[in-house]
Assembly symmetry: none
Homo-oligomer: 225 residues x 4
């Protein structure tokens, strides 16, 4: 519960901003920007309120720093990893989703997504930054995988502008589940990897049964015309 007790008046200049950012991320994600008190952030980082303002000039700048810091250093060599990928596009898709989950979704960094969903209206400029730095690269990576599959004939022709969301939406939902409603739904448990497997399975093969004969028809009146 209590953050690890530390000796008073410890000098840890280098470590402080990181600790504060981490604490702020946790609390902003959990309670939202407005409902988080800076004193609480400071306490979680093991420092006093005044110390926070030594490193961040205001609560709002702290928020921006949290976003920038969390997403800033993760999206560098993301695309390059896939340029040299050898394997089917289906495998690329599965790899992209599972790897993203393991590296981002399962970590605290995923809280940023929840944060942006919650606070975009209050921080439009940060939301736009998030768009450009996170969503756009993600969308383009997915799109390039899908385009590769279509080009090789592995995938059927797709409206890529929209098909990308067949990958993005499930991952987004998984994160929102984790950070928002999931903890409040004791009757439903989502295992992330099972979830991802299921989503990929459906995305790849669809839910329709392979129709050897045109006879497969549901009960009830046949479709008109």
């Amino acid at each position: 519960m209590e953050p690890a007790a530390r000796p008073k008046r410890e000098r840890r200049k280098e470590a402080r901003p990181g600790e504060l950012l981490e604490a702020a991320l946790d609390l902003f994600v959990e309670k939202g920007f407005a409902a988080t008190r800076v004193e609480e952030v400071a306490a979680h980082a093991g420092v006093s309120k005044g110390t926070l303002f030594l490193y961040f000039p205001s609560k709002e700048e702290l928020f921006k720093a949290v976003v920038r810091d969390t997403i800033g250093n993760r999206l560098v060599e993301w695309n390059s990893e896939f340029e040299s990928f050898s394997g089917t596009s289906a495998e690329m898709l599965r790899h992209a989703m599972t790897a993203w989950w393991d590296r981002v979704g399962a970590t605290k960094a995923s809280g940023i997504t929840k944060l942006m969903m919650s606070e975009a209206g209050n921080f439009p400029e940060i939301a736009q930054f998030y768009q450009q730095e996170v969503m756009r690269p993600g969308r383009e990576l997915i799109r390039s995988i899908l385009a590769r599959g279509v080009a090789t004939g592995e995938f059927r022709p797709l409206n890529l502008d929209y098909a990308v969301f067949s990958v993005i939406a499930p991952m987004n939902f998984l994160i929102m589940w984790k950070h928002s409603i999931g903890p409040c739904a004791p009757d439903v448990t989502i295992d992330p990897h099972t979830y991802i497997d299921s989503q990929i399975d459906v995305m790849l093969h669809g839910v329709l049964a392979p129709s050897p004969s045109p006879a497969a028809r549901p009960p009830g009146p046949p479709p008109k015309k």
Copy 2:
């Protein structure tokens, strides 16, 4: 200055709570619970701050009332509509998604979803209420449609516990897009019906091209050209 100024918005007495709830929904969705001031809610409803407290004992109760009121009256005859549905399960799925969008997603009521995503941590009991009143029925409706399809052989066997999210996640994302990040992404436009069509299409048929030979393409570099 102006003689005999009339109050800006003349209201029927009966309508007050409803207008307050509507205004509160708008503002809570846009700015979050904590960042919304009750005075603003009152102003949007055309009444004074004091009047709001005549109808709702506190800001928190107002929030709860917003959630309860908005979701309360929509889920009554939802399931019954599908019990008498005649048509393929694929059609049911499409109908469920488009109808839900038109009746809920495209309306202000969809803001509740965004609200719950943002505020679940601060209102766990309301989040649980939302779970039970909105998400569980929705999940069960989807599940029943999928189960019907599987039972008739129209759909292949599925892990229904997870397959439901292939429907829920895209709709959830569409709402979050609409209420959060969408307005901050001027370079991307999502047309809801095209989006839904694309999601259904992928969900039904998958992205894999129909394979002329039943052998799955082997791993390895895709064919050149």
Copy 3:
């Protein structure tokens, strides 16, 4: 000591700003802008801290309002009073000084002068406003009286640009005495009217004894040359 007790939650919208301005003037004069707490101002006006911010958006605006309000309504018909003055210019001078003392110097309004002396550096724009609204008119009134005296031959020729300060400086000092050091000098008491009489007397007649014979010389070696 305590401000007159008033019933709680009294509604006195019209009276509040004036009461607050009066309290603020007192405290700003006594302690300076920075050392005065807004809560103290509110308490002296018999209201709570929040009420102050109902009428003034910030402490700084309260300060400006104090200055504007205190000097705004006093300098209107000042000059006109002297245009129709019949009497010697010496009498005008005496009247100007004593009247100003009775109407301004002896009242709380004189605190504004002390305030501006103390805070001019922190509120340059207000200081300039004070210059233009208070000091310049005062200087011009004095100058016009002196000019009249010179024109009629009652006064000898003077460098009016500087002679005005023979009137202004003593009055300024009297105010500073009253508001600053006077209360801390228990061994010196200045009676304002005696003080003004003395200042006028010296200013009119000088301190030199009328020299009937050129013999009046002080002891000691006579001046060289």
Copy 4:
């Protein structure tokens, strides 16, 4: 960035307190006690915040030290200078005023006067100290000059308790002008020596024109033209 950066201001150790006092005087005069931050004082003196507290136990003590230090060493041989003065009392007066201006008024030390005017209410004991150490000796010097003039018949009989202020008030005003409102009055320029000359001139000779007839001009409208 810059290799081997030297501290900006290399200081002799001995000089520290003096530099702090000097910096403090400047800033206290400019902004007032409360609005001056100790860190700023330290920075102006080229040392760190902590160092200031090595020499002065608190901001308040720093203030007192500034006052004591600035006025402490100036009033020693002031009176003695005049005891051996040979010349008219008018010359003594002129000399006292101009010398005081050149030695004190025109220097930073004059800021103390402005400081005391502003802060007397917050530091009554210091104000009393200032009274006793600065104002009283000054008053007594002036008084002794005037008394000498009266005794020799050079000056006419005067109420010395008040006549002293005919010297003090103009000098006080000149200082307040210099440190407060003067910089905010771009349309008025006061040349100190011209100002002092004018004040002395008026003080000695008065403003009344020498009357050809010994009869005082009667009250009533001044002669036309």
